[in-house]
């Protein structure tokens, strides 16, 4: 067993959390990506323990792992002191010393503890005072005392503590469990009136969220940001993705596009993040050779960004539809679906040539001066009460453009249907 203890002296303030428990819960969820055995102590100062012995090989050794964790904490913006020891209590003790905070074996631990002052021991105040008044100053001197006499004088708890400190006795602690849904929130001391000011706290929330997703080895398709206002119901900003993702940078980019468009009803006092549904991470992330898969992933990033900024239905793909009426012979299709579907161009070959541009609304025009081709009669639609009876022609406009026009047989009027371009 190799325990990492992280001392977080300013956690509650730095996390902008409502209370210390929220703050350390968020950090525990983040830390779960590095170790399956996480536990914490809430009272001051907050301590977070991770068991690294089982996971150090996965992350390339304890040095690389420790560097990764410290870099992560720095990125999140928490002041922290890390220490490594074979027992959780020794790791907690070593977070209080100035240097040489990493020891790996019990023998090393004993040597390391020997010169440290007695006051670092996590024993009751009167026990420490009694030891002090007996003339003991260093931890080494206490460890050298016969166990039986210590037990007689201070009770068996002191002995148990010392044996746990040295890693000689079991020190079971409750393993923290990942919650099934993710909820995090932070409160600002002030009111933010501008959505760009939200990006800084949001970035941290998203980084913690990314840690949670990595720890669970899952990804999300949608999550919600909750902007809390004073005397105003919170506004929810739902962020959806095309493909399961778990990268904080990607989330932040989408959130920025969404927030860019939002007009705040009132200043923001708090920010929450909520994710209720999780899916398996997209296998494309690990695909080394598949350029098609990579391309699809890049496209999905683009689609997400466009939808976040422009609105979901502004980004479309097209599909033909079996209908003789030109304005009904096509439909929008969501791009993500039609990427997977293949279109058969042969379906369209029975039709006469059609123009590439279609007028969205029919425009009534004057009878064209010059008709180049036609008529092509289209009579259809009696079954759905939009019966059409039209003669289509290719017409030449004054400026040389080729128009696709028709004469409505019902009223004899001319309309522009499209342009040959």
């Amino acid at each position: 067993m190799l325990w990492l203890c992280i001392r977080l002296p300013l956690l509650a303030r730095e996390a902008f959390a409502a209370n210390a428990e929220d703050a350390i819960e968020r950090l525990a969820a983040w830390a779960y990506q590095w170790s399956s055995l996480v536990s914490y102590r809430l009272n001051d100062p907050p301590l977070l323990w991770l068991e690294l012995g089982a996971s150090q090989h996965l992350f390339g050794g304890h040095t690389a792992l420790l560097a990764g964790i410290e870099a992560g904490l720095t990125q999140l913006g928490y002041s922290h002191v890390c220490a490594l020891a074979p027992s959780p209590r020794a790791a907690a003790l070593l977070t209080q010393v100035e240097r040489q905070r990493c020891v790996f074996t019990r023998a090393e631990l004993r040597i390391r503890l020997d010169p440290l002052p007695l006051s670092l021991l996590d024993l009751p105040e009167e026990t420490r005072d009694a030891l002090q008044s007996a003339g003991l100053r260093r931890i080494g001197q206490v460890l050298a005392l016969p166990a039986a006499s210590l037990a007689r004088r201070f009770g068996p708890e002191t002995n148990l503590y010392l044996r746990r400190l040295l890693g000689e006795a079991n020190d079971p602690r409750p393993a923290w469990q990942l919650p099934a849904t993710y909820r995090a929130r932070c409160e600002f001391g002030c009111e933010l009136r501008d959505t760009t000011a939200l990006l800084f706290p949001l970035q941290r929330l998203l980084l913690e969220f990314q840690g949670y997703l990595r720890g669970r080895d899952c990804a999300v398709l949608r999550f919600t940001l909750k902007l809390e206002h004073y005397r105003h119901p919170p506004s929810d900003v739902a962020i959806g993705l095309c493909a399961p993702a778990r990268e904080a940078a990607q989330f932040l980019q989408l959130a920025r596009e969404r927030l860019h468009n939002i007009v705040l009803p009132a200043p923001v006092r708090g920010l929450g993040l909520e994710a209720l549904e999780f899916t398996a991470p997209s296998i494309l992330q690990a695909d080394f050779f598949g350029s098609d898969a990579q391309q699809l992933q890049q496209l999905q990033l683009l689609l997400d960004r466009l939808r976040a900024r422009l609105g979901a239905d502004q980004v479309q793909s097209l599909q033909p539809q079996a209908d003789y009426r030109p304005e009904r012979a096509w439909r929008f299709a969501p791009p993500a679906q039609s990427i997977l579907a293949s279109t058969n161009a042969a379906d369209q070959e029975y039709l006469p040539q059609r123009p590439c541009f279609l007028a969205a609304d029919l425009q009534r025009i004057a009878p064209p001066a010059q008709l180049l081709s036609g008529p092509e009669r289209i009579e259809s639609g009696w079954w759905d009460r939009t019966d059409v009876a039209r003669d289509y022609f290719v017409a030449r406009a004054e400026n040389g453009a080729r128009l696709w026009v028709f004469r409505d047989l019902a009223d004899g009027a001319w309309y522009l249907q499209g342009l040959w371009t």
Partner: protein, 219 residues
């Protein structure tokens, strides 16, 4: 094997590119031999913006791009249409062998959104070509799009009104498109190369970029 001596045409092209050994980037053939012969690299250049200033909509200005778009889309890259003035008509695109599942139609409300969407699409490596119809833009915007096209190595086509030809622009290629004056007798798009980076400007040529109808024969 004996190599053939360079033709006069090839020599002229080498001279225009400044040096014998300057590498000409491969370009995407436009599908029109007359145009390819006059473009550096023999086609549309990747990572560059081309401005198309058409006198009117419906003279064959879209047909100019269709063969190139078709080959891009068939190679698996996506084509983004940003704020086109009319709706791209799905059956017609399918008839002209454009795979519809590679088309992305992006509608926008403002010019700013159009420019932003154009830039995002140009930067995306999955997108092969971006066709954009911005209402009115200035050279600063074009420069930005040019940089985005370089970053994404994609083809950018900006459809601009004919008045834009009077202003300078940082686009790599600028073409003016006219309908022929007697377009019944000879139906083809007249292309005037106004600017061509690494190529020759001032060329006027004609390409049959749209379907032809003859008033006498019907089809």
């Amino acid at each position: 094997m004996k190599t053939l001596p360079p033709t006069l045409e090839q020599l002229a092209q080498l001279c225009r590119n400044g040096a014998w050994n300057r590498e000409v980037k491969p370009a995407l053939p436009s599908g029109f031999a007359e145009l390819d012969a006059n473009l550096p690299g023999g086609g549309w250049n990747y990572g560059a913006i081309a401005e198309l200033m058409s006198d009117a909509i419906g003279i064959g200005e879209l047909g100019l791009l269709i063969p190139a778009l078709s080959s891009l889309a068939r190679a698996g890259r996506y084509i983004a249409w940003i704020a086109p003035p009319y709706l791209p008509y799905a059956p017609a695109l399918a008839q002209r062998s454009l795979p519809l599942n590679r088309m992305l139609l992006i509608r926008t409300n403002t010019l700013q959104q159009s420019l932003w969407a154009t830039e995002q699409a140009l930067r995306c490596p999955a997108v092969g070509a971006v066709l954009s119809w911005p209402t009115c833009i200035i050279d600063k915007n074009v420069r930005r799009l040019q940089l985005a096209a370089e970053a994404g190595d994609s083809l950018g086509f900006l459809y601009r009104p004919p008045e834009a030809a009077l202003e300078p622009s940082p686009a790599a290629l600028r073409l003016r498109l006219h309908a022929p004056s007697d377009d019944i007798a000879c139906d083809g798009l007249i292309i005037e190369i106004q600017k061509s980076r690494g190529g020759r400007a001032g060329v006027r040529l004609q390409c049959a970029t749209r379907l032809t109808w003859n008033a006498r024969t019907g089809h």
